[in-house]
């Protein structure tokens, strides 16, 4: 039984270590993308997300330190009401801020579609006009090419018809 517990503990240690290492490596390589960790709906950074991130790390590391001090004690250390209230305030701020952000569709414009300021201004209109002009000129080129192809096809059909008529006349 003791040997079994040792083996299970060893496997658990390996699993937790491999899991943690994999997560860290994936974050470092960019396979787990953290670029939008603090971003709002419009792509700009959010103060409430930043606050929640800081408090989460502070409380997590503090709690871990307390667990380490309680080597001889049993059970999980009690979390004071003040800490719970602090995390509640931070999470509520985040939730309300998210609600406000998503209540305004203009603020939800992705950054790539504009200049990132969350509103429709002159630079956005200019960029849209330039893109539309480029698309129109490209469509005109495609239309001319298609027209040439149609004319070529009609010419080939006429020639084929003439050849067929000549062949029919020769046989009769």
């Amino acid at each position: 039984m003791s040997l079994m517990a040792q083996v299970c503990g060893f496997v658990l240690c390996l699993f937790v270590g491999a899991l943690g290492l994999t997560i860290i490596v994936y974050i470092w390589n960019g396979k787990i993308d953290l670029s939008a960790l603090l971003s709002e709906a419009n792509g700009q950074a959010s103060m409430s997300r930043f606050q929640l991130l800081i408090f989460t790390f502070v409380i997590a590391i503090s709690l871990f330190e307390m667990v380490e001090m309680r080597v001889n004690a049993t059970g999980f250390p009690d979390i004071p009401n003040g800490v719970l209230t602090l995390l509640g305030i931070s999470a509520s701020t985040y939730a309300v801020g998210k609600g406000i952000s998503y209540s305004q569709p203009q603020l939800m414009k992705p950054k790539a579609s504009g200049d990132g300021d969350g509103d429709v201004d002159g630079s956005d209109a200019d960029a849209a006009a330039a893109a539309a002009q480029a698309a129109a000129s490209q469509a005109a080129v495609h239309a001319a090419t298609a027209q040439q192809a149609v004319q070529q096809t009609a010419t080939n059909a006429a020639r084929a018809q003439q050849a067929a008529d000549q062949a029919t006349g020769g046989q009769t």
């Binding site: 590391i61 871990f64 979390i79």
Partner: protein, 114 residues
């Protein structure tokens, strides 16, 4: 070395590495911080409510860390009500400012479309 110690070092290493990687990505701008302390109404002006929330957050975090570092009782130190009032008020100001800016954008948008 017992398995408990191994597990302890694993978890401590994971937490510290995670914090270090996130901090590194923030410092090297791989995590987007653009607009963290500015208004979101297109003016790009510095927002006072965001500045005060940032300062209150950093002050509260540093204070709590110092309490944890000096604590030897093995229990998480409690946070005084004064700090909670401060953070609650600071967060309230931030949310109110955000709502006000959003309301103004909405009003401006409706006025421009009519």
């Amino acid at each position: 070395m017992s398995l408990v110690r191994v597990l302890h070092f694993e978890l401590l290493g994971f937490l510290c590495l995670l914090a270090a990687v996130v901090l590194f990505k923030i410092v090297t701008r791989q995590v987007n911080l653009e607009g963290l302390i500015t208004h979101k109404d297109g003016s790009d002006q510095v927002s006072p409510e965001r500045i005060q929330l940032l300062l209150a957050t950093l002050a509260a975090s540093a204070t709590y860390f110092s309490q944890v570092a000096s604590n030897t009782s093995g229990r998480l130190p409690d946070i005084s009500p004064q700090w909670l009032y401060l953070l609650g008020g600071s967060s309230g100001i931030y949310v109110a400012g955000k709502a006000w800016v959003t309301y103004n954008i909405k009003k401006r948008g409706l006025g421009g479309s009519s």
